[in-house]
Symmetry: C2
Subunit: 362 residues, 2 copies
């Protein structure tokens, strides 16, 4: 099997630019939609989901978490996807910048603030004040323009619990059929619950026909990460950088946002994800991207089947699948010449370090 599978479009110009080096930007945010019981597994309890993006960012940058007193994995040893991202980033020597789109808990690391705010539960129909969405958007474009001046390839990842639900609501609000296409961090996708939440959100937002303005759609039923990722991508792509949106089905929402603001930049935009996300039969990233805009979609064929730990092998069973840009940075590393085996070796050794930390705090 190839290290990277290209599912849609021509990914070669992205690979060429990524091979020269890249900058990884992690966008974090929260939505109170993550407090709906059962909607996400990104946190041991609903109220702890607010800590997950900050903990992911701290682990990514420092190798340890500060906002939570533990290592970023479940008690039975299933690690955050930030494990993959950190291991691969360290291997490549790429630079990392964390961007706060609007997170209830802020990490104790240097962070670029777009002056956003955490998203409300989208069932209110008033997810984020419109003026805040506008501010995040204009700050994100400026940031993207400046990042493109220092790196020809920008990989943008995300961490926001319940982000697939808000992305579904955003896509439907913009007129796309996303009802049965969104993935989940859980092997058992709570699709009916997500659909019920999205329907209530659309009803309370008074959306009965498709919106044309993506900033308005975010303001009513979206989350802060969608406009932040999209605006950074728009700013960077306008300056000629190759942008890799690193994530799962949420990236279709980011792609739709970009298309409705500035279709002209789409030739510099691609989506990078993992094999596990593509293999999710409860979701359909490729179908979504075909519906929104034909940009290249590639996936990294990481394979944890032979990992010596159950917590890592769980990824093959559909746990987590993607997040914190894990797939995108893996594709970037492969573009630079690293093999899947090299990636898996550093992921394993970083996992073993995490296990030691777990022993210390247990």
């Amino acid at each position: 099997m190839e290290a990277v599978t290209v599912h849609l479009g021509d990914f070669s110009s992205h690979m060429r630019e990524l091979s020269r080096g890249f900058l990884f930007t992690l966008v974090i945010g929260t939505t109170d939609t993550s407090l709906v019981p059962g909607i996400t597994i990104a946190g041991a309890k609903p109220e702890l989901t607010h800590y997950t993006p900050a903990a992911d960012a701290e682990y990514l940058v420092l190798g340890r978490c500060q906002v939570i007193p533990t290592v970023p994995m479940t008690p039975d040893g299933k690690p955050t996807p930030a494990l993959i991202t950190r291991a691969v980033i360290k291997l490549t020597g790429a630079g990392v910048l964390v961007v706060n789109a609007g997170a209830r808990v802020r990490p104790n690391i240097p962070i670029i603030d777009l002056q956003g705010e955490p998203g409300r539960d989208i069932r209110t129909g008033l997810a984020i004040d419109r003026s805040i969405v506008d501010r995040v958007f204009s700050n994100g474009v400026i940031l993207g323009e400046n990042l493109a001046r220092v790196s020809g390839a920008i990989v943008i990842g995300e961490s926001i619990p319940a982000g697939t639900t808000t992305a579904m609501a955003f896509l439907v609000a913009m007129g796309y059929d996303a009802w049965n296409k969104m993935s989940s961090a859980s092997p058992v996708n709570p699709r009916d619950l997500k659909i019920a939440v999205v329907k209530e959100a659309l009803r309370n937002a008074g959306i009965d026909k498709p919106l044309e303005d993506p900033l308005e759609a975010v303001s009513r039923v979206g989350d802060p990460v969608i406009p932040a990722m999209a605006s950074i991508a728009i700013g960077a792509a306008r300056r000629g950088a190759k942008v890799l949106l690193a994530g799962g089905t949420q990236m279709a929402a980011v792609l739709a946002f970009i298309k409705h603001v500035d279709r002209g930049v789409l030739n510099n935009v691609a989506i990078g994800t993992t094999k596990w996300l593509i293999n999710d039969r409860t979701a359909d990233l490729i179908g979504l991207v075909r519906e929104v805009a034909h940009v290249p979609v590639a996936s990294a064929n990481l394979d944890f089947s032979n990992m010596p730990y159950e917590g890592l092998r769980a990824y093959e069973g559909g746990f987590v699948k993607e997040g914190v840009g894990a797939g995108g940075v893996s594709i970037a590393a492969i573009s630079k010449g690293y093999s899947i085996n090299q990636l898996q070796e550093v992921i394993l050794s970083n996992y073993e370090e995490l296990l030691k930390g777990m022993g210390n705090t247990a």
Copy 2:
């Protein structure tokens, strides 16, 4: 006259790296020491000095100010040095990132937050809580390491009113003779006032013999910008980037901070300033640098004598002299092959745009 004059050391490896491209980082902060009447001209009234760093940052990034309702110049047309920085940065196409070290007023742009706090009046002897200085320092090192991964040359500038006074206090606290060597944005340097403030600060901080720990010296009598610039420089220089500290006599304080934390990185550090700063006979940057650590010092020979506006010609009379990294980015542009004339032309045309804005708001 050469476009750049090298006053100390071998600047050639810096020029070589700068010629390949650079990233400009503006560090902003405030100290309540700027409220001492007469200590700074960086603000029409003492309480307005708190707006200056945010206004500089907004003008640099956006070309207009948002936190103040006017253009960033005095009523009689003397512009902020950010005019030079913005014009030159636009000419070179370099990326800009603004870092908040601790500013009372925050700009409405994307900004990297080091989780610092504004400095208190140093006459209290308790400028910044030690835990905050430590946090700024560790965040700055992480940031510098990551910036070095995307750019081989990092130019770091500053905006902090009364920064020469706090830098003097810091240098004296660390055992250096800075008493009559600090410059000023005013053509009439209020040296006696600065010395009186520094003496009161040292007395109230209980400093009667030199300190060895620069973090402690900042905590007692410094400002947030000193540890922020120094830590970014340390992180970047450790990763092999060439760092250009862009500023005037305050850079001697940053240099001393770096030296007392990690002397080994000094071979990647240089200071870049303007001719006007070097020509300030009330100050002695070269003497200070000789006393602290022999790193290269270079100055850009911008000459505004023949500018068609009195506000610009005032720079030749000793107004402003330096700030917002104006000298450093000019040196970086010259390293990339731009001539002094090209720089002066874009500065003039940006000034004329500012004048138009002044007409609109008057």
